[in-house]
Symmetry: C2
Subunit: 367 residues, 2 copies
């Protein structure tokens, strides 16, 4: 891909994820943690996209709490491309703002929206798919979503229903669905016609901007005013005043689902199915699966050495410490300077209840 | 009891207990740990006996690794009363040395032998029993053992079989038994005639010295020579040369069991049964039971705050940290600056296998 490519990666990094407590905190959200290696999740995301775009073309939408850490971790990305949301908002206002900003640079700019906290094991295949998506998105007012072939029955993700095939590896999208219940999820998998919605979208800035104007008619003017103020001395004030007035809604719900109801031949939404070893690492249990991989050793111990006896299926994070596991199974034990989480892999989602308890009891130092 | 009492408490504090790893280490054995409160086990032991003897009458038998910590913890006990074994030896040589030393001070000195790592909840009852034992031991060549009424079938302790009653709360001892197997332990408990051997003995220095001369005829001369050198410039050299040549055997096995075979009317061994809330805290599980006591809260968490959700029966030690327990049962989790132990209450005895592994792999810093 030439360096004059119109491709602009926009990384959504505003989440305050609680699922990796006690490692994740308000100011140390999942995207800035090094969960599975040396680099943080967002550093890995940038690294993965780096061959497709110069660093000056990256944009990051995040929040004030994370900005300092992000500026350290992504020192080569222009700080003026790091937008700090004055209020937490779902994906539609964030993506919309990026669209209006890039539309002013070039209406034909291809905006790629990427969550900043996922892992990908086959980076070449990932980039091949994104390249294909950029090409498809540069035609007409196409919208492209990357779809992940499901590897298990999963009720925690949205799904994309495939329509007709238009080219090898390219399908029209028939429908976007919210997170299904167990029965529907089983039907989805059995049909082989539903893919996981990766949250990765590609479209022209002008296409997305038009979609926001159409589907979020009250919010769009606020975002346009913010984009117009960008680069001026008034920007911060305008951003702070108008962004909180934007509707707090996801891009899927606000734009893609209603758009798809126009019918697959009118909506111009395309899905590129691609199995590039995607994992959103949604819990300690998911991290265990990812880190264990195909290893015959069933304990994943991130520590300064260890010894196991009659112990299986445990995830332990205790940097620098010698960890001894005796007769325990399927536990998750995570230790930080100020906290210790002890749970099971099957209940590791409930860590959000711990965070809720900490909020309820105003333990700010642990949030 | 008058301050001119002939009572001399001798604390056996040489153990290198591994059962509280990772808290216990070679230089931080159980007796110097604060397991169930502010004071260490040996500080509690001294405190408990303090009303019965001036501090100048206490003697401590320990080893070089622990001496510094013990001198800090027991600053008021004369350092010349702290004997550092030049080689690890079982209880017979340690008790014998104390007997020969005290015999030189006064043959009628009453020597009380106390393990330094047990807990007692009813200290008044404990002292009443010891007072009674001192009185009994001061007559003739009586030997007194404190017996604990069993509260469970336990195969980890030696037992004392009671013979005829000679006064209210005083029995002759018929027999000392080694740790029984499960079937015998059940028989012992059912008979109501067997008590746990507390390891607490009282006798005149001359009585114990004579018993050592009789039953350990090869070892006794070494101990007498060491005692004779005490207070001279040669002491350290003599101690270092002769003590390692003493037989490595327990007092129970070397003296009490054979003595008891003379028959209860000739052996002059008496047992004072007393239920003073004794617990030898032999494992993390035992500490859990002790700390939990009669509390309806089933988790024992020694930490800087905590939150539990569907969690029962866990013991956690993580000083200063906020501990979250979610959906876990009967675990033992112990965290120190350099190590993290994760096991279950039922397998917490197996921590000795961790220590063995550390020895085998020369992880000296963790031992």
């Amino acid at each position: 891909m030439s360096m004059n490519s119109p491709f602009y990666p926009v990384l959504l990094a505003g989440g305050s994820g609680t699922r990796f407590w006690p490692r994740s905190r308000r100011a140390r959200a999942k995207q800035v943690l090094s969960l599975d290696g040396e680099q943080s999740m967002i550093q890995q995301t940038v690294q993965r996209l780096r061959p497709l775009a110069r660093l000056e073309k990256f944009w990051i939408i995040t929040n004030d709490l994370l900005s300092e850490t992000l500026q350290e971790q992504l020192a080569d990305i222009p700080t003026e491309h790091m937008l700090l949301e004055p209020a937490a908002r779902n994906t539609a206002p964030a993506a919309g703002l990026a669209a209006f900003l890039l539309e002013r640079i070039s209406p034909d700019a291809i905006l790629g929206m990427f969550p900043a906290d996922h892992v990908v094991s086959d980076e070449d295949k990932f980039r091949d798919t994104v390249r294909k998506g950029i090409q498809l998105a540069s035609q007409d007012s196409n919208i492209v979503v990357l779809g992940i072939p499901p590897t298990r029955i999963e009720t925690g993700y949205g799904y994309v229903e495939l329509g007709s095939q238009t080219a090898p590896g390219v399908h029209r999208v028939r429908r976007f669905t919210e997170k299904p219940n167990q029965v529907r999820a089983e039907e989805f998998i059995a049909s082989r016609n539903f893919l996981w919605n990766s949250g990765i979208f590609l479209w022209k800035a002008s296409t997305l901007a038009a979609a926001i104007r159409e589907h979020l008619s009250e919010t769009a003017p606020f975002l346009e005013q913010i984009a117009a103020a960008y680069g001026t001395s008034k920007f911060e004030a305008v951003f702070a005043e108008l962004y909180p007035r934007c509707e707090n809604i996801s891009l899927d719900y606000a734009v893609l689902e209603p758009r798809a109801t126009k019918g697959e031949h009118h909506s111009n939404i395309f899905c590129l199915p691609a199995d590039f070893g995607w994992n959103d690492l949604g819990s300690w249990a998911a991290l265990y699966d990812h880190q264990r991989g195909a290893s015959p050793e069933t304990n994943v111990v991130d520590a300064g050495g260890g010894y196991t006896l009659h112990a299986d299926g445990n995830y332990v994070y205790a940097p620098g410490r010698f960890v001894a596991l005796v007769g325990v199974k399927d536990l998750v034990v995570v230790q930080t300077d100020d906290a210790l989480l002890i749970t099971t892999r099957h209940q590791s989602q409930d860590v959000s209840k711990v965070v809720k308890h900490l909020k309820d009891t105003s333990r700010e130092e642990l949030l």
